[in-house]
Symmetry: C2
Subunit: 382 residues, 2 copies
């Protein structure tokens, strides 16, 4: 019962052969071996390319997976929210960088509480002089200067300075202001990661990298130290070596992959060379209709912002449709036998980051066995 | 720090005048007064109509709100998942009914553990003879018969028996089988709740009610006791009194309402007579673009399966668009001043149930003050 409270109802299955097929559903599964191969493959790429890794924890929200990435050579972890950063620092992960501006009074107060704790490197982006001034003021009051990276929007326009002049002005100000230390420039092209054709992705990414290279060169020419240039994602991780602009890569989804990337592999588009490592195990709970069965995996366990889940195991050739908060519709191919009540159906996750955020636990599987359960430590943390 | 661990970073604001505008964002807000008025209005309707209430906890996943509903006269609470039911029974909520079939071995084992605990009434739906047999076998082993309701799909086809004959056969079997006690029939028309025009909603709901009335009458004529006929939702809560089929209503969304219902009110369609009580407070975190600002409310804090959030306060006339996992795009009307960095923007939630499921806490507000924080107890519980 204690294990059920801390690790959920499947804790009793850990280490039992064949337990993967017996899990209480819906359950988020991570294939440990595929995960480790993905982490090793990205580490090998970075080593060969001579670039550092600071993978993005927004994908997995897990201190355990962050630790695996650090053990494979990553110099730190990116976080999208302050709450993720609090979890990672608490777990002893070094080099935590917060990739979204922290601007409100409550967020700056929490950031200073985190900064006051022992940590090996903590940095945050800035994209506006008012925010820089507020952070510097708070850091002066705390008596501990804060590392900042200036954020450049890179055409996405979500956060970041809009142009070269704004980046240069803010970088100079970060250097001149008492309380902040300029550590570098961040530029993440979130809008490019899912462009399906590699040639278009490449040409657009390289155009952005040209702008970024110009910014960095001008700052360095002006005597401003820019040790870090941070950016890229799983869709563009291998484009920069040609341009040699980034000092580190913020790749996230490569650890898991998802339906988008799987589809790219299936239809011959150029998908990144990583394996699908993340699944959701669901079960058939109603079989009274013709042509389909109802599962217990609905929109409270799969993200709905992207494609639908892909059926991976348990019902070959079937298609998934959302069927409400707690149910999925498993549409069977013509003539296929209907899986029986209780049958387990494993699905590849649609957009992996928000799917993970719907689950409390990773059920770590290897082959047919559950081998561990890891909490999704930073789930829902803002 | 203890409060931050248990009630999140806003615990220090409880009871402070003006604190609503100072909250750490993104924060799920529930307007306590509107919530209480909604609960009272539905209770008054049920009293007048001579029907009982067993509101659906899938909407709020909160033992506190369930308790308010019970105090206002509800005879129990519906739950979509076994995990929700575990939370509600633990909190001492009586009359917990599970509205989805529980068919897998792990679920039946957990159901029996719950059933073995002291509780005032626990029931579950069945829609298949194999599941009925499995439940009866488990209940016999536990030495404590289980209350069941036979589920009738009512045209939705998600769960439930497909036709009258199947309902009648399963009901007879539930009576005849040692280990189960037939308590009644459930029929929830999830497919009808959001039909926008009341006349169409009404005619389709009444057609389903005719079928349901026929089923119940035939069972009663055959000497089978059917004390409970459970169904309806916020979109059809007031249609049944004309038909007098249901003994109790499973209404859920009326406590909060959401963008769909707000839109119905705005464009003159016939929306249920309840108030919007649920919001998400977000903050402006980047202002470097023309015509829009970026907020800290993205698809990890708003459900994406329905409409987009409506901007309720802080940026009059603005529209919201999703802008990634952690960000929203606040599109300003032409010529409108841009809200400053850090400005709070409150949004009406899109589909309320899955939005609540993305949050750990209700920030309970009254006027301009935070007055309490309630955990979303059953968030993510399967």
């Amino acid at each position: 019962m204690d294990d059920m409270l801390t690790l959920g109802p499947n804790a009793r299955f850990i280490g039992k052969p064949g337990s993967r097929a017996a899990l209480d559903t819906p359950a988020l599964l991570v294939d440990r071996d595929a995960l480790e191969r993905n982490i090793a493959a990205m580490a090998a790429h970075a080593h060969t390319a001579g670039v550092a890794l600071r993978p993005h924890a927004k994908t997995h929200k897990s201190a355990r997976i962050a630790q695996l990435q650090v053990e494979a050579g990553a110099l730190g972890i990116c976080c999208a929210t302050l709450g993720e950063a609090e979890v990672m620092v608490t777990a002893g992960i070094p080099g935590v960088h917060i990739t979204s501006p922290q601007v409100t009074e409550p967020k700056i107060a929490r950031l200073m509480m985190l900064h006051a704790r022992p940590h090996e490197g903590l940095s945050v982006v800035v994209d506006h002089p008012d925010n820089l001034a507020a952070l510097a003021r708070a850091a002066r009051q705390a008596g501990k200067p804060l590392d900042v990276l200036v954020d450049f929007s890179a055409g996405h326009g979500r956060t970041g300075c809009a142009d070269e002049a704004a980046v240069a002005a803010l970088a100079r100000e970060a250097v001149a202001t008492d309380g902040t230390i300029l550590r570098g420039i961040q530029s993440y092209s979130g809008n490019l990661q899912h462009i399906s054709m590699r040639d278009e992705r490449r040409s657009r990414a390289l155009a952005q990298l040209d702008r970024l290279r110009g910014i960095v060169a001008r700052l360095r020419d002006a005597g401003i130290d820019v040790p870090i240039v941070s950016g890229a994602g799983t869709g563009t991780f291998d484009l920069d070596p040609e341009a040699r602009v980034f000092t580190e890569l913020q790749v996230g989804s490569y650890v898991f992959m998802d339906v988008d990337y799987l589809r790219a592999l299936k239809d011959g588009r150029n998908a990144p060379p990583f394996e699908t490592a993340l699944f959701v195990a669901t079960a058939v709970v109603s079989v009274n209709a013709q042509g389909y069965a109802t599962t217990d995996g609905g929109l409270k366990c799969f993200a709905t912002d992207g494609p639908v889940p892909d059926v991976a195991r348990g019902a070959p050739g079937s298609r998934y449709e959302f069927f409400g908060d707690e149910h999925g519709k498993l549409i069977l191919p013509p003539g296929a036998p209907r899986p029986p009540l209780g049958a387990m159906i494993e699905c590849v996750t649609p957009h992996c980051d928000p799917t993970v955020n719907l689950h409390d636990f990773y059920h770590v599987v290897s082959g047919d066995a559950l081998v561990d359960i890891w909490p999704v430590d930073a789930r829902g943390k803002r």
